[in-house]
Symmetry: C2
């Protein structure tokens, strides 16, 4: 790695710490020290569990305990013992606490908004941010089962169709293809998987159950910002695992010659070329994989 490259990284990190340092400042606008504000925000984001908080914020048990007591005295939270284990405690926002949390959220949003609107090309800035965030949190991307009609799923599918439409010379109409119905992508016949990075969806894949002895893999999509991280391979592995769990023995999929990266992936991971098995006008290549 050349020295210039390193100084580019360091310039980035200086720029970002200066900026996000200013972002931290916004937390101070409400007369509460940073540590306390961070704890309040973490609780607001659903991390009420004390042990979880300690881990997440890297705080000493004594320190966290004091901060929690302080918040309790302010009337912003209450603490209850957890049901499943009476040693553990869980912090919960009171009404006043929720209002205060909302104020912090508004501050954060306003900050993000002003950062974005100061830039002449916000879309490009967002793309670069997504790319970097995906790169940095790569080790923390999770793949989870989701409902095919949930907002996150729809967000991904919309992007998928947009992209396919742009890619195919002849265009792509959702009505003409065999778009799987939601029930076929739900257990026990099928599944829908989302890749989440820090809570935001960055990829999806569907497993569509059929009554013909096989299931189809469809709608594999990875956000542009998350490509090149080996995520599609992970998604496919998870899909196979899910298929096994559902007792499915044979997987099929179709794809188009204009997606060479996808085709290469399938060929590298044990999929076999087969004859056309449907009359969808868009796909040109057909694959099958037996699960053992």
């Amino acid at each position: 790695m050349s020295l210039t490259d390193i100084s580019r990284v360091r310039r980035f990190s200086r720029a970002v710490t200066t900026e996000t340092g200013a972002l931290d400042q916004s937390f101070l606008g409400r007369g509460r020290p940073l540590g306390v504000a961070r704890v309040l925000n973490a609780i607001g984001h659903g991390r009420g569990d004390v042990a979880d908080l300690r881990l997440y914020l890297g705080l000493d048990s004594g320190q966290l305990s004091r901060i929690l007591r302080g918040l309790e005295e302010e009337g912003l939270i209450t603490t209850e013992t957890a049901e499943e284990d009476a040693r553990r405690r869980v912090a919960v926002l009171t009404g006043k606490g929720s209002a205060e949390f909302a104020e912090y959220e508004a501050l954060s949003n306003a900050n993000a908004n002003s950062l974005l609107s100061r830039h002449p090309d916000p879309d490009k800035l967002l793309e670069a941010m997504d790319f970097i965030a995906s790169a940095l949190t790569r080790d923390r991307i999770t793949i989870e089962l989701a409902d095919p009609e949930s907002p996150h799923a729809n967000w991904c599918l919309d992007r998928y169709f947009d992209e396919v439409n742009r890619l195919f010379k002849q265009g792509f109409e959702r009505a003409k293809t065999c778009d799987p119905q939601a029930p076929a992508m739900r257990p026990p016949v099928g599944a829908f998987l989302l890749a989440l990075s820090d809570g935001l969806p960055i990829g999806c894949v569907a497993l569509k159950g059929t009554d013909q002895g096989y299931a189809e893999v469809k709608r594999l999509w990875i956000a542009p910002s998350a490509r090149g991280l080996g995520l599609s391979k992970r998604m496919m592995q998870e899909t196979e695992r899910e298929a096994r769990r559902l007792g499915i023995g044979t997987l099929r999929l179709d794809t188009n010659e204009q997606m060479p990266a996808a085709i290469a992936l399938y060929e590298k991971t044990g999929w076999a070329r087969i004859e056309r098995f449907n009359d969808d006008p868009y796909p040109t290549h057909f694959f099958e994989k037996k699960l053992t």
Copy 2:
């Protein structure tokens, strides 16, 4: 601005603070509090002036004074009164201090390096980082006079020629064009300007003096990561100001039809199309501007 966009910005900022938080941790590996380490590093980077330090690090005068005394007791720095103003003090690294500073630099470099080498496509990551760093530090981009043969200038010029070569279908050979000689780009006949963002060069422009009653604007280049920020306009304004300072009354420039953005800029900022005034094979458009 949509809520999704805002959550994308916030995801970025969380990802980055987690990562650069870990980077700050590295400063703690040497048994010194963060504030002290920051001061030592700033001094190592040439910011020895006490008033400058205070401004740069945002420290209270009392606090900085205490930190400096601490570093002095450790034998890492000495402070001297400035020559030009005996009230001001300047901190200088001792031999031991330089060694310590070098250790911090090595830590930082190793950190940046590991971040980069963990990524499958470091070049793309660097580009995204440059883009964001330029966007965030936009208000702090400075334009300075530089020597046309300095390393920074050469770095920019190399990139300029690379890019022109890629842009022109017929290619571009530095030998065939009228490449101005360095002395023509130095005062008192000409100038060479660099755009610096946090010390790194991100653009250049040359003012080439001639003995024919006008000067030529040449080699206007902005790093891809810094485009769209209105920087070329600022560079051209600075060039005109510099020309006035040198007593130049007429500016000329040539450009190529394959650079529509540049042509649009010239037309919008008071340049007039004129006849070809040289026999350089590459340019297709010629402009002139009278300075009043």
